[in-house]
Every structure is written in C-alpha cells, then in structure tokens.
C-alpha cells in the first residue's frame, strides 16, 4: 500500500487537520484527502468483518462446525493473576480494535457519511444479531420441538403449559406477582414520596427506602429469608427470625412463612415490593417536585389541603409518571427469577414463569418446554412494553 504513496511521510495526526483547515470548503465537512495507509487499514477491517460474518453465519446455519483449540490461558484462568491478566487483555484488545476502526474511518481516503455510520454501528449491530435476534428466533422455533429439539411437536409444549397442574400453579403465581407487586410498590412509593416531600429529613428518608435498589435480589432474598427463619415452637428454643419472633410476642405460634402454601408466594412478593418501592419513590418524587407551584398555590387558595391535595392535585398531575412506574415494575416483576430461585428454589408451589424456564431448561433438560416458557414470557412482556413506550413519550414533559 505504502509503496506507491508519495505522501507517506506526512502521515500523522496533524496532517489531516491542517489539510482540512486549508482547502476544504466550509460546507463539506469530510476530508477529501486521506492517508492511503489508513485506507488500507479500513479496507482490511472491512474484509476481516465480512469474513467473520461469513464464518459465524456458516456456523449458525450448521454448514460448518468451528473446531478451535484455544490456548488454555484464554479460556480457563484459575489464579487471580491470570484472571486479572485476562481481563486487562480483553479490555486492551477491545480498545485497540475500536481505536483502529475510529482512526481508519477518520484518516482514510474518500470516507462517506454512510461509511462512518456503518463503522460506528457495525459492532453493536453484529452483537445484537448474534446475541438477541438470532437466539430469539431460534428459541421460538425450539418451542415447537421436543425436549431435545429433534422432533417437531406442534403446539404440544404450549398445550402442556396451559393444561398441566404444576404449570397452572406457575401461571397463577406469575399473575399474582404481576398484579400485586406493581400496585403495592407504586402505592408505597407514592405515599412515602408525598410524606417526606419538603421535610427536613427528606434526603435521608429517601436514601433509606432507596437502598434496597443497590442490593442484589440474591442479597435481598437472604436478608428476608433470615427475617422469615422458622424455629420449632419448643421449650428453650428461641426464634431467630424477626417475623416469627413478632408472632411469638403477639402470642401466636411460629409460622413456616416460606413453606406453607399458598400464602408463601405472598411472602416472596413482599421482598420484591421491598426492592421496587425505592424505584417508584424516586421517579414519583421527581414528578411531584415538577408540579408547577402555581397549580399547588391555586388549589391552596381554593381551600384544598391534606388528602384533598393528594387526591385532586398531586395524583392527576403525575399520572404519566405513575403509569411509567407501574408498567416498568410490571415488566421487572414478570421476569423475576432471583428471588424465587434463592428463597425457595421454586418449591412449595412458589415457582413463576421465569424460574420455571430455568428449571425446565437447565435442570430438567427439557429444551422444548423451556423455550415455550421463554416465549410465553416474551408474549406477556410485549403489550406492557408497548404501552410503557407510549406513556414514556407522554411523560417526557413531566420529567
């Protein structure tokens, strides 16, 4: 490339910029002259990408099976040094590749707008096709096949889901979760946001409720499992779980919160509400603060106060934000997995769709049924997301 290049010595960070300032007319922002070296790099990058795509497509289509013997330091790191080494290697590799792409696009000859766009979008586009679109389509296909994805079974998997008893329980539990969690969490978040609004301890009070958002659902599950811990009601045995101690103090028998069906589902739901209320409170609090002062003032002059203010001024003013919070929590709740997995493992009639998906796919190795559960989840999420997006647009003024 560089042999027939008279400008070779000029290649450097300064050359393009100088060229730009001197002879490019104002209206045409792209450089007309670029470095042939970087043009070569750009062409090479494009070629590598195309070859890579072809290889992956061939593998996905089953035309070719990749058989790579990766060096062991690349795929299995045991000691801390190896792990951090691999991590820095990955980050540096990523930075180098991205810099190459950017420099090539910036410095190469005759780069058009669409080429820049392509270079900027290609990495994420390829990843999304490989990691979301293709797997999604394949899962839909697998949901019509048997447990090993070999024989076509039509709608049998879906029929199983909607007729067998254990899946009836799963669907019923999911319905309970999606009905209760958004409403209660939003209600608590809203009431709390109104209660602490403009008080002296507002920042602290909000921080306390918000903290569970930072804790993993696994961590939250352990915290609540400890609250629910049960000790048999015997002489000399003290309760170590707070909930049962409260029962004992109230003169009641200790209770197996996580085992006694059907109420145990509700005690799992408490954990999710505990986590999500902080989110609701934050978003709604911001919406409340955005209510124009003159509206509040006008209502006050009209003699509205207390509950009336809440009912007739606050709630209607933040309606769009309320809907966004409700739908967002609904979506999160539909996909709830960690809490059920950690607290009961889906036993004692507490399983939900997302957890059952995991059980069927990775414990029972029934790929077809697992895929059908994933598709059901997908179908349930779609209408809420669509509604949410429309509300997001509406509420953009509020926030």
């Amino acid at each position: 490339m560089s042999d027939n290049d008279p400008d070779r010595p000029d290649v450097g960070s300064g050359s393009t910029a100088t060229a730009l300032r001197e002879d490019v007319p104002v209206a045409a922002p792209r450089p007309k002259e670029g470095s042939p070296v970087w043009t070569g790099v750009l062409v090479a990058l494009g070629a590598v990408t195309v070859i890579g795509i072809l290889v992956v497509v061939a593998s996905l289509a089953g035309l070719w099976t990749p058989e790579f013997d990766w060096p062991s330091w690349l795929v299995s790191s045991v000691t801390a040094v190896e792990k951090f080494g691999l991590m820095f290697f990955a980050i540096i590799l990523f930075v180098v590749v991205m810099s190459l792409i950017l420099l090539a696009v910036d410095r190469a000859r005759g780069v058009r707008n669409w080429m820049v766009a392509l270079a900027f979008l290609a990495p994420m586009g390829l990843m999304l096709v490989f990691g979301l679109i293709y797997p999604g389509l394949r899962t839909m296909r697998e949901s019509f096949f048997d447990r090993t994805s070999t024989n076509y079974v039509g709608f049998d998997n879906y029929a199983t889901l909607f007729t067998e008893d254990i899946f009836q329980t799963v669907l019923r539990n999911t319905a309970i979760w999606v009905f209760i969690v958004p409403i209660v969490a939003t209600l608590i978040g809203l009431v709390y946001a109104v209660l602490v609004d403009r008080t002296r301890f507002e920042a602290l009070a909000k921080g306390l409720i918000f903290l569970p958002m930072a804790i993993s659902m696994v961590g939250a599950s352990i915290i609540w499992k400890f609250v629910y811990e049960y000790r048999p009601d015997q002489e000399g045995v003290e309760q170590i779980g707070l909930a049962n101690q409260l029962l004992v103090w109230a003169g009641r028998e200790p209770y197996q919160f996580l085992i006694t069906s059907p109420l145990n589902t509700f005690f799992l739901i408490v954990v999710m509400i505990w986590i999500q209320s902080g989110f609701a409170m934050t978003v709604l609090s911001a919406a409340i603060k955005a209510i124009p002062d003159d509206i509040v003032e006008a209502a006050r002059i009209d003699g509205v106060s207390g509950l009336g203010m809440f009912r007739y001024v606050t709630v209607p003013s933040i309606r769009p934000a309320l809907v966004v919070v409700l739908t967002t929590i609904s979506i999160t709740t539909l996909k709830v997995f960690d809490i059920v997995r950690t607290m009961t493992g889906g036993n004692f009639n507490t399983s939900v769709v997302a957890n059952e998906f995991y059980t069927q796919s990775f414990r029972q190795f029934n790929v077809g049924l697992g895929a059908a559960l994933a598709v059901v989840l997908f179908v349930l999420v779609i209408p809420i997301v669509v509604y949410n997006v429309r509300q997001l647009r509406l509420s953009e003024d509020v926030r």
């Binding site: 099976t65 299995s76 170590i240």
Partner: protein
C-alpha cells in the same frame, strides 16, 4: 422523616423579612399531610425498609453459636462480636469467597466498559450522522429492549459450546455487553440529542470530522450521562444471577458472588453465620458505589428505561 416542619427560628426575630424559598416550601408542607398519622406512617415505612438489612449485617458480626440460638435483637442480653464468620467465608477451605469476589470484579469491569463504548458510538451515529433508514434502524434497536434475556439463553449457550469457549469469562462479558446494548443506546441517544445542534454545526464548520466531534465536543459533555448508565450497568452486572448462572454457573473459576451466595442459601440454608457474612460481602461493593455516585444513578433512572 416526618412531615412536621421545622419550627421557623428566624420568624420572630426577622419578622418582616421575606421567607426564603426553602422556608416557604417547608411552610407549604404543613398544609399537606401533616397529621401525626402521616408522620407515623412515614417512620413505620422507613423502619420496615431498614431493619431487615440491619439485622442481617448485625448478625454477620455475631458468633456462630449466638446467631443460631437467639435473635439479633437480643444482642444486649447475649453480647458478642467476632469476625470469625467473615474469616471462614472468605478464606475457609470449602467456600473461598475471595475467589468469587475476584470473579465478580473480573466479570464486571469489561461488562461495563465494552457496552458503554459501543453504545456511545452507535448513539452518536443515530443522533448526528445522516444515513439512509436511520430512524427505522433506531426504532428496531430500541424495540429489542422487549426481548427478555430468557429467550436468548439456550441458543447462545449452545453457540458458545460450539465455539469452544463455554464456561470462560468471554461468554459472560459478551452476553452482558449484548444484553446491555439496546437500553444503553437508547439512553445515551437521548442524552446526545439534548446537546444543542449549533455546537456540532460549529465544529463541522471548523472542519472537524465525525471522530473529532465525537471525542472533542460530545464526550466531555456526556460525562454525567456516561456515569449514570455506567452505575446502572455496574449494579446490574454485579447483582445479576441469571446470566452468571447460565454461562458461568458450573465453573467455580468464573462464577461470581451472587451465584455462590444463592448456592449457599440452597445447600446450607441453616448456616446463618456463613450466609449473613456472605450476603454482607456481596452487598458492600454495590452499596459503596451506589452511595458515592447516587446522584448520577437517580438521573439515569429518571431518564427512563426497561432492562431486559
């Protein structure tokens, strides 16, 4: 924590002086729900939201025998303070939490850096480069937020197995990056669109190309947005269980803290001294990050977003 307003101390002395805006607001609050019931309710919620965590954290410092025989609220009767549980969890023979702690860090850093970088580039292209089908493509990427990650797990896993790097960090990094992209692109695009077009026009007139504009004009202005999404993604990856369980669950060399803690809860559900210390360790890093950068996180939340 209560709705009772602070008694206005300057009121008697500086009677004629106009109240500051904050004081005015505080006075207004009085006309809202300022009954003792309201204050009581607020305090009750605050306590209910704090006590469970407090109980577990306190228990993690109690001797094993005490944790198992009496509640943490009896600590004044059964005093005792020890770091034994932490010692056992972190360095004890069978569990070795330090390994999982390192795994969590090694998983999280690239899984935050990579998607943010890619999303920044994509968001720039969607916001400031003209090319055919731009809006259509953006809507398509945005719509991908709908896809629950459950739908993708099994085909992705079988693909990783085929390529021979299943059970390595690469699968977790790649998966987390992919799953983060739609939301990241959407959020960062929104932030980028907020930057005045005149600024970019001016840079163009000065002869700056897209790469220069991206690095010199936009990036400095986007630091808060990047911080917001960075914290979002950090918490999400650090706290994730499903992705880790699927792609790294079987290999202790890769599995992060959440997987280990969940496993402990299942297999040794009565070993409360281990569970309490383990949960505390897994909580502490996100808590520090969250508390120190809370402002940005709230901003990210308010920008709206649904994570798949």
């Amino acid at each position: 924590m209560t709705t009772t307003t602070p008694p206005p101390p300057p009121a008697p002395t500086a009677g004629p002086k106009k109240l500051s805006r904050a004081e005015q607001r505080a006075a207004e609050a009085k006309t809202k729900l300022s009954s003792p019931w309201a204050s009581g309710l607020a305090i009750a919620i605050a306590i209910l939201w704090t006590v469970p965590t407090f109980g577990l954290l306190l228990s993690s410092f109690r001797p094993e025998a005490e944790i198992k025989s009496n509640g943490w609220w009896t600590i004044w009767r059964n005093p005792g303070f020890t770091l034994d549980s932490y010692d056992e969890v972190l360095y004890g023979g069978s569990t070795q939490f330090s390994t999982f702690f390192i795994n969590s860090i090694v998983i999280t850093l690239p899984a935050v850096i990579i998607p943010i970088t890619l999303a920044l580039l994509a968001a720039y292209a969607f916001a400031w480069i003209e090319f055919p089908y731009r809006d259509l493509l953006f809507v398509a990427v945005f719509a991908l937020q709908i896809v629950p990650i459950q739908v993708t797990l099994i085909p992705l896993l079988s693909e990783y197995v085929k390529w021979g790097f299943a059970g390595s960090f690469w699968t977790v990094w790649l998966s987390h990056s992919i799953f983060a992209l739609p939301l990241a692109i959407f959020l960062l695009h929104n932030f980028m669109k907020d930057i005045p077009a005149s600024l970019i026009e001016a840079a163009r007139v000065d002869g700056a190309g897209h790469v220069k504009i991206f690095f010199l004009v936009l990036l400095p202005l986007l630091v808060p947005a990047i911080a917001a999404f960075g914290i979002f993604q950090f918490l999400w990856v650090w706290n994730d269980l499903l992705v880790a369980l699927t792609f790294a669950g079987g290999t202790p060399n890769v599995a992060p803290l959440t997987v280990r803690v969940a496993e402990l809860a299942g297999s040794r559900g009565t070993e409360w001294h281990l569970l309490a210390a383990g949960a505390a360790i897994s909580i502490v890093v996100p808590l520090i990050v969250f508390l120190s950068l809370q402002r940005y996180f709230v901003r990210g939340l308010l920008a709206g977003g649904v994570k798949g």
